[in-house]
Assembly symmetry: C2
Amino acid sequence: MAATPPQELIQLAYVSKRYFKDGRTRVQIAEEMGLSRFKVARLIQKALDTGVVKIQIEVPGPIDVDLSLELQEKFQLRTALVVVTAVDTDEQIRSALGQVTADLLSETVREDEVVGLSAGRTLIEMSQQIHAVAHCDVVQLTGVADPLRERGMMAVNRFSALSGGELYSLPAPLVATDDDAAAVMRRQPAMQRTLKRMSAVTKAVVTIGSWPHGSLLHDSLVPSGEAAALIAQGVVAEIGTTLLSAGGKIIDTLDNRTIGMTAAELQAVPEVIAVGGGQHKLSAVRAVLASQLPSTLVTDAATARALLRS
Amino acid sequence: MAATPPQELIQLAYVSKRYFKDGRTRVQIAEEMGLSRFKVARLIQKALDTGVVKIQIEVPGPIDVDLSLELQEKFQLRTALVVVTAVDTDEQIRSALGQVTADLLSETVREDEVVGLSAGRTLIEMSQQIHAVAHCDVVQLTGVADPLRERGMMAVNRFSALSGGELYSLPAPLVATDDDAAAVMRRQPAMQRTLKRMSAVTKAVVTIGSWPHGSLLHDSLVPSGEAAALIAQGVVAEIGTTLLSAGGKIIDTLDNRTIGMTAAELQAVPEVIAVGGGQHKLSAVRAVLASQLPSTLVTDAATARALLRS
DNA sequence: TTTCTGTTCGCTCATATGAGCACGACACGC
DNA sequence: GCGTGTCGTGCTCATATGAGCGAACAGAAA
């Protein structure tokens, strides 16, 4: 095909500018230039076809829209958010996921919702990045993992302070030494208040833990040597206090000893936002998606691509 | 203003993609997404406003559209073509001007027009670059300048060969030694045929000569020592065989001795394309524009910018 | 020449679109 | 409690737009 000659290029460019930049209608441009509106329409079409006018869609910020939409489609999610990071260290990824989750919550939390937060480093990150959120109650969904120590309740504390609503905290370990200990703790009035509130949660934000590496629950069990048995049972992931097999099946072995929202309660939450990504979390994220528990996923680009390949 | 949150960004990007890339109508998108068409319209508007959708207009090839349009506007030209060159040597500029002029003529010359060409290096360049043109007669508008020697008639010869029409050549010097010599030459039948055809020219392509440096006519007069007197009379430019003052006034001192299209005939041509640019031609181009003779100008970016500044 | 074919143009008419308006939700101040 | 301003929303209706059509023309083939 022949190159478009210069005089016509000028005309294409001029018409395009009037139309796209200046927002005139085709009719106005036609009158102005003494052409028929059809001619103008064809010029605009030609400008589009020949590449004189380029339309690019690009979101500001660290979201990869294409990946997000593909994930959303493939896994039947209400929303998927794929975060792009400059470097792929776990540190960076966690920070970026936290930022995006913070924005997501600022955006979606409505007045007087009941927001549930699990404990985890990514959500601590989130709580540091969030700057505004509607007035809402905050429910701590899981007990505090030993490795986090005093930082364990940071996320709910900060978030609740910001939201100005009621805080339902869970001052207890993530997992108790045995069933009885768990039962005792659950009976404490402070606990009861929070546990009862679980069923009112409208939006749960849970981090994805990867077994065996990258799970706070796993790490809490290692000292007592119990982790191996669960791995043998096929646990590859946790979401909140719920353990999952590679196929996304719920593994309830530990349920009586964990303190936090139950799998059944989680399933009843209208909006479950699962957050997780990074090098070694791929199969955990896959399991979580297979479980159908989350309606929204926040993850990183590398993980997203790997999920789409499989 | 707050940054647009991620979930909304996804929506903006998705709607934009459907609309701009996939060409769906707003109504279709609205149905597909379960929104009102007004909502979709507002999302698209927001995408435009926030810069999620960027529309850039950029012509392929060496034309600067903005400068061209500004020139066109400022000097009331039918068309202005501003050529962008990688390097600003006269050599490069001449080649680029030739190329663009070639494309321009390929585009605009209609069947059975009568095209007039002046002699000059830029038009020789043009004749080498042009590959197709409608069938038309070609009239040589000026005699041959001594410095060009045998290349003087190259442009008309090549152009005419390509067009397949009649060639009206002017095998004579650009300027004769005196009025009588000019009259004698003009009376030759071959000349008469061409000179009579001048009034039929529908499209004249003339190069802009700059006095004192960059003019074939000037250089032809230097040996006989006559150039100085004309410069003293204020000649700063020539277009074809017509001399111009800085204000664009026609200086007719030499008219009886030059062989070629007269100023009056040039004024009568419906479309006069003036071609010229390069370092030292600025004031000549300015004079030519002031003369109101050309309806189209082909020049380089540096000259265009200088013209717009003044 | 005639005929065929492809291109460009401007038309009609159904549909899409924009401007402006009215309504309801909500937050704020008295 | 009650205005009152500001949103976000979807409406109406006049206008802009796209799809598809036939006329006009040019170049190629017969």
